[in-house]
Amino acid sequence: MNSASDRYLQQLSALLKDFTQDWDSATDEPITRETRLFADLSFESIDIIQLIVAIQEEVVKRNVPFDSLLMKEGRYVDDLSVGQIADHLAAQAG
């Protein structure tokens, strides 16, 4: 955990609140490093794709490769935590 990752965590929390606000499954639980997109926020694969685009346009403001985070051996990973994304952004975008 480092300051860049924590900064991204805050930005991701705000983005995710906005992103999921119209969903029936929207929750009032605070978003933490451990919050999982599929299990806790009712994400589906299309939402992940859409979220990555939003992260690139609104958070890092450039193209960041997400392949290694999203895919393992040509298939989607089972789930992804907000902390994993923050760490990935910190490592990729600084």
Partner: protein, 288 residues
């Protein structure tokens, strides 16, 4: 990434990679996420365009416009909006039907055409329970919960009915598990949003009837001069379409994916990409 209004529908699209244009179309009850893993693998060689069919993913649910010919026109309209004169087109399932229609409507805009486990309504207008052969564990579970096979006797669009039943069961909180195969609406802890969207599409729009409308005629399909790849899973229920397409398009290459069912681009990604990559990089020679 962006939105384009095409034929009255706001469509969500995104592009990645650099190279010749390649457009990938998903099937019904899916989204552009279906093709995202393949797009990741192919983006070093192509500029790839993915989009959500109308009524799916982040694209608008319109009252109508869901016939394969309509979706084919959406594809051509999106190409106009994005300034793509021509592209190689790959479609899975219903997306392949739309790709075929686009090729018939505007053959000069389609470089290569790949149809993956596509059922063509014109060539295979009915699919009954007794046509399915061995049922998957998923289908057996759906059937059991729906009260057994009796209510579905006489049903001529059994594939759509299975999807609908699965979506309604998913929304009712019933989970499917125990299968290694891809299960519709079965991903992660969610997928009830996709299941809900599918039910609303069937209940609130003309999609249910329009999905079953025939498109191009056999003569039109037979007159197509576009390099074509047909890929079907060994356990696919769409073989009547594959055989008819092969007969009408003798130049097309027909590939069978061993032991695979309808969703082989997800269950057999390496094999699928191997065949697709070789086809897309083969010399572009127009069939005689």
């Amino acid at each position: 990434m962006g939105y384009a209004v095409v034929n009255g529908a706001r469509l969500a699209w995104q592009q990645m990679g650099e190279g010749p244009d390649l457009i990938l179309l998903h099937g019904v009850a899916a989204s552009r996420a279906f093709w995202f893993p393949a797009a990741m693998a192919l983006k070093a060689r192509f500029r790839i365009t993915l989009f959500d069919l109308r009524g799916h993913g982040y694209s608008e649910r319109t009252a109508s416009g869901y016939a394969s010919q309509d979706i084919g026109r959406d594809l051509l309209g999106l190409m106009d909006a994005l300034g793509i004169a021509s592209a190689d087109i790959v479609g899975h399932s219903y997306g392949g039907g739309a790709a075929l229609e686009a090729a018939v409507l505007a053959p000069s805009r389609v470089g290569r055409l790949a149809l993956l486990d596509t059922r063509v309504q014109q060539l295979q207008p009915q699919m009954r329970l007794q046509d399915l052969g061995e049922l998957s564990p998923f289908e057996i579970a759906v059937l059991d919960r729906a009260g057994g096979p009796a209510p579905l006797e006489g049903e001529t669009q059994i594939g759509f009915r299975f999807l609908e039943a699965a979506a309604r069961q998913k929304v009712a909180g019933q989970e499917f598990s125990g299968s290694d195969d891809f299960v519709p609406f079965g991903e992660g802890g969610g997928a009830s949003k996709t299941a809900n969207a599918w039910i609303r599409l069937l209940d609130e729009t003309r999609a249910r009837e329009e999905f079953c409308l025939p498109g191009a005629t056999e003569v039109q399909i037979g007159a197509l001069r576009v390099p074509t790849l047909l890929m079907y899973g060994e356990r696919s229920r769409c073989w009547p379409s594959a055989r008819a397409l092969s007969r009408l398009m003798p130049h097309a290459r027909l590939v069978e994916i061993p032991r695979a069912g309808h969703f082989f681009p997800l269950s057999e990604p390496k094999l699928t990409l191997g065949y697709l990559g070789a086809f897309l990089e083969s010399p572009l020679e127009l069939p005689a």
